[in-house]
Amino acid sequence: MTEALRVFLVDDHAMFRAGVKAELSRQDATTAVEVVGEASTVPDAIAQIAALVPDVVLLDVHMPDGGGRAVLDAVRRTHPQVTFLALSVSDAAEDVIGLIRAGARGYVTKTISPEELTAAIRRVADGDAVFSPRLAGFVLDAFAARPDTPVADPELDLLTNREREVLRLLARGYAYKEIAKELFISIKTVETHVSNVLRKLQMSNRYELSRWAADRRLV
């Protein structure tokens, strides 16, 4: 790891921004993450992200004026190279699924430890996905094999057995390394599976996913 990742913080709670900033700067140099800017409002965030073009944006879900979703919508198209990691206190399915479908590469809750947060930032910056155990649970629930569910596109609307196993282990609190060991596959393969699940989560038109997103008028 040669240079520090440039991270931008979007959250309307100043206390929380200060806390995250302090935690990230305390990490050792090998996993260095540099907070290059922060914003507390949606318009401010859109302007600053466009100007700074950070590697990763830590995005709060609930904010006035449209929340994280509004920022994603405004910046995703113009700056596709910026990756987003959603960060929220909410564990509600519609929040989680909604943000992922809007383009976030991952979702973690605000109770995450500083080390895990740094690792998650690194992972999304590398193009991988980050699933909290709860998000993995939601996905398993949403993609559950139900006999009465119409499957329009098997490639997108169904999970493979392997993907299911990986998600289960994620939900059980396993780290990627442990999952790899448990399933006798490489960490890289685990990452591929999770990225595939993320893609299905974003592209699939399964009813449950659309419903969750629609509950918050996110689609």
């Binding site: 564990d91 509600a92 155990p133 559950a144 059980r172 609190g173």
Partner: protein, 439 residues
């Protein structure tokens, strides 16, 4: 219109007064009593007010019929303006009980007396035009009364902002149709009464039917003109009332939130400040409060005695509270709780307690999944771990409460642990599809 005041304006005082201030200060009011009624409860209400037997009042009304229908006029007028006596609440305190049905058999004697009075009257030759006057006025009052009464008291709670009959306009949903019908029928009754009055008392011989129709037409035009002038004002009042109701709903939501914040959040914050030195206690308090708020925000889906998911969440919450650890709970799918599933929940609780006691960690992962033929629970910690082969049989928690319990219900328990690597307890319970309640 017979009465000049809104029949239910007393509600505002009782609503504000609350239960304590009511009993002595209330002036005695005249009500219609629905629980002791022959027709509309007017007579019995007056009787209660005057402290005499209802039968006297009823007889008086019937006898007064003879005076050019005076009894009918009075009765209808009272019916139109008197508020219904508030019914005492049912024993369970939720719904006021329904008034008993009218007893037609009891009504019969009074009908007989009434007919008798009328017959005597006609025999004596008191009938004719003057007698008809009384009856027609009664008809008009009846129509007015129908219109008045359809404005349900609950619709008028906002007090004197608008005339009470406006309530008809504000009523919502399925009530609206029936209200419109009542309004129209009331109006028709009034119109018939008025036209009949005109017909009876205008000198028929000269202008005949045509003049009556002309008069009615003119009256209609007048009413239309007044309506045209008044409409914008009425519309404005309507808007105001709607805004008021919305504000009241918002106020209720705010009050509920305030209650939560006051009863729980502020209380917890105070406790946290008092035990600021004790990290464990602070964590426990914060965690418990977080759970309460989450439950309130995202209403739980079922009761722990009925649904597996809710039962698992409850068990996790108990362990969190008791041992000041965080349990990361993820539940996929759901099903009804039966005896084996309840045993699985109990075994999961034991596994959580085990991790909380021995693993020396702050977070334990709990994952539960309901599949059509299998329910599995995984409890994982990254704590000290132990060598399962060295655990003696006296570790009752693991042997009896977990392994034994799962065996009894045809399930199995696996314990995976290595010193320094943490522990995972895996519980599997085969189930049949019948109890599956996942959608």
């Amino acid at each position: 219109m017979v009465g000049g005041y809104p029949p239910c304006d007393d509600r505002t005082t009782t609503d504000r007064g609350g239960p304590i201030s009511q009993p002595l200060a209330q002036p005695r009011r005249l009500y219609r009593r629905l629980d002791d009624r022959f027709l509309a409860g007017v007579a019995s209400g007056i009787a209660v007010h005057l402290n005499i037997k209802p039968v006297y009042v009823r007889t008086a009304f019937v006898v007064l019929l003879g005076l050019q229908g005076m009894g009918a006029i009075l009765y209808v007028a009272f019916w139109a303006v008197l508020p219904v006596e508030p019914l005492p609440a049912a024993p369970d305190g939720t719904h006021p009980r329904r008034p008993p049905r009218r007893d037609l058999a009891k009504l019969l004697p009074f009908v007989a007396i009434g007919i008798g009075v009328l017959v005597i009257q006609s025999l004596l030759g008191w009938g004719g035009v003057n007698s008809a006057l009384g009856w027609l006025v009664a008809v008009v009052a009846l129509g007015a009364g129908i219109i008045w009464h359809q404005t349900a008291p609950s619709r008028r709670r906002s007090g004197g902002t608008g005339p009470p009959w406006l309530g008809a306009v504000f009523a919502e949903g399925d009530r609206r149709t029936s209200l419109v019908i009542r309004f129209l029928s009331g109006a028709v009754v009034v119109a018939i009464g008025v036209i009949a009055l005109v017909a009876v008392f205008s000198p028929l011989s000269k202008s005949g039917f045509r003049s009556i129709m002309n008069g009615a037409l003119l009256a209609l035009l007048g009413v239309g003109a007044v309506a045209l002038v008044a409409a914008p004002m009425l519309w404005r009042i309507f808007g105001q009332l709607r805004n008021e109701r919305e504000a009241r709903i918002r106020e209720q939501a705010r009050a509920e939130l305030a209650a939560i914040v006051h009863d729980q959040v502020l209380h917890t914050l105070a406790l946290i400040q008092r035990s600021a030195g004790d990290t464990k206690a602070v964590q426990r308090l914060a965690r418990g409060q977080e759970r309460t708020l989450r439950n309130w925000l995202y209403k739980p889906t079922g009761s722990p005695t009925e649904l597996f998911g809710a039962a698992i969440e409850e068990v996790a919450a108990e362990v969190e509270d008791a041992y000041a650890i965080a349990v990361e709970t993820v539940v996929v799918g759901d099903r009804a709780v039966d005896e084996p599933v309840a045993a699985l929940v109990a075994a999961s609780r034991e596994a959580l307690v085990n991790a909380a006691r021995h693993a020396k960690v702050e977070t334990v992962s709990l994952y539960a999944e309901v599949e059509p033929e299998l329910v599995s629970v995984f409890v994982r910690d990254r704590g000290t771990g132990f060598d399962p082969s060295t655990v003696e049989d006296n570790r009752h928690g693991v042997r009896g409460s977990i392994v034994g319990r799962m065996d009894r219900y045809g399930g199995r328990a696996e314990i995976r642990s290595e010193p320094g690597e943490g522990t995972e307890i895996r519980l599997y319970l085969p189930v049949d599809r019948t109890g599956d309640s996942s959608p």
